[in-house]
Symmetry: C2
Subunit: 252 residues, 2 copies
């Protein structure tokens, strides 16, 4: 728990297109950087390249916006085709005001614009959707990584960059997790004074995703990071465990 | 931006009591760990030890709960004195349900229980309040650090561990920042394809705080971390810049 954690950018990922094997790009970037994958390492991959590899890419020119989308888009000077896409990718709108749409996505995430993004796709007519099942995406990347690297204890986190209520600035969140626990539960353990910790359940996958963003930047083309030194448990929980049950959520 | 970031726990902080010079404890722990402070380093310190050093410690036995506090405490089986303290430290209640109180604290943060905490204080009758002005606390620690270490470009972040809407698991947030920008603004810059980034404003101080939590744990006595390799701008913005203006916040 108290080891030094080292976070490195993967700077040689190269271009990802439909059906790219992301694990291959990760392994190859690590090799070029003399950063060989070892037991216990964690690879963090941005949603953007996973969506590209899975073909979750949409041409706006092919989207026919509904009247509702046109209405909202006109009011807030947005692209009606993008608004239409956001509606299609949402199960439920949580808030829609000030030109901002916060919704619950098909995958169960609550975020702005249903996670649809237009940066780093190479074309302003193009938008990426979230992977349809990011935990499954993480699992696949992980098993390919295990095969290609020969390393068995390796974890994969898929990250996305979202805003938060009450606070300015976006941060990275974990939307897919494989090979490690997404949450660490300290409840019942005693602190250094013997006080039983009652509320310490830590979203470690989100913290790892946030720490990876520090080496990724948004302008440079760094869509992945390598983390070494974080002693995680090898469990088969996933990023869905980070989603709060609607019944006990005070902000839906 | 794309350097490797190294996060180390400060394992020799020692006991912090009222009027402790936290910078001295940081420098001394670094020395004992052969981790000398260099230009560009960031020190992350938990709220808990800052509150202790500033005497923001309250004995519950000295708190007289109001009828309102007793009512809420009875309904949800809480300590009425703790509820009373939460009310006193809050400017405004945002949500109060399921036994959870989310409020805006005197300092302007929105979090559970007004940031009042009972772990790692050595006594179940004792609770710590947030520092009354965490940005000022960070500034003071920073100037003491500069003096003691001789290093001028050093940044200080004070962190606290909070829950979030919609997601399970707490993560670390930055509540005080000195010597660096709390937010990095990429708006107007172009991505690797020439697409102008419109929404990329990153809460880097929160991400640095979250990454520091990875080496702190909750059970071990590691109340501070040392971060090297993150290329920040030396600016005088503070953690208050992370607080969204109530007028544009959809969740108050």
């Amino acid at each position: 728990m108290t080891d030094t954690v080292i976070i490195s950018p993967l700077t040689h990922i190269g271009e990802i297109t439909k059906a790219s094997n992301i694990a291959m790009h990760l392994v190859s970037s690590c090799k070029k950087q003399n950063l060989h994958i070892e037991e216990g390492d964690i690879l963090v991959v941005t949603q953007k390249i996973v969506s590209k590899a899975e073909g979750q890419v949409v041409l706006l020119s092919e989207i026919e916006p509904s009247d509702k989308a046109i209405g909202f888009a006109t009011e807030f000077k947005k692209d009606p085709r993008l608004i239409e896409l956001i509606f299609r990718e949402s199960k439920r709108i949580v808030r829609m005001d000030h030109g901002v749409i916060i919704s619950e996505t098909k995958q169960g995430f609550i975020c702005a614009n249903a996670g649809i993004d237009q940066s780093n796709v190479g074309n302003t007519d193009t938008a990426t959707l979230l992977p349809s099942d990011p935990d499954a995406s993480a699992k696949l990347i992980r098993s390919n990584l295990q095969e290609l690297s020969g390393v068995q204890k390796v974890a994969v986190i898929i990250s996305d960059t979202w805003g938060r209520p009450w606070r300015e600035g976006q941060v990275n969140f974990a939307i897919g997790v494989a090979g490690m626990e997404a949450i660490r539960d300290y409840r019942g353990e005693k602190d250094s004074y013997g006080y039983t910790l009652s509320a310490s359940v830590i979203g470690i996958a989100d913290e790892l995703a946030a720490s990876a963003e520090l080496v990724m930047g948004k302008v440079d083309k760094v869509p992945a990071a390598h983390i070494r030194g974080y002693a995680y448990q090898e469990k088969n929980t996933d990023a869905k465990t980070l989603l709060r049950n609607a019944k006990i959520d005070l902000f839906r």
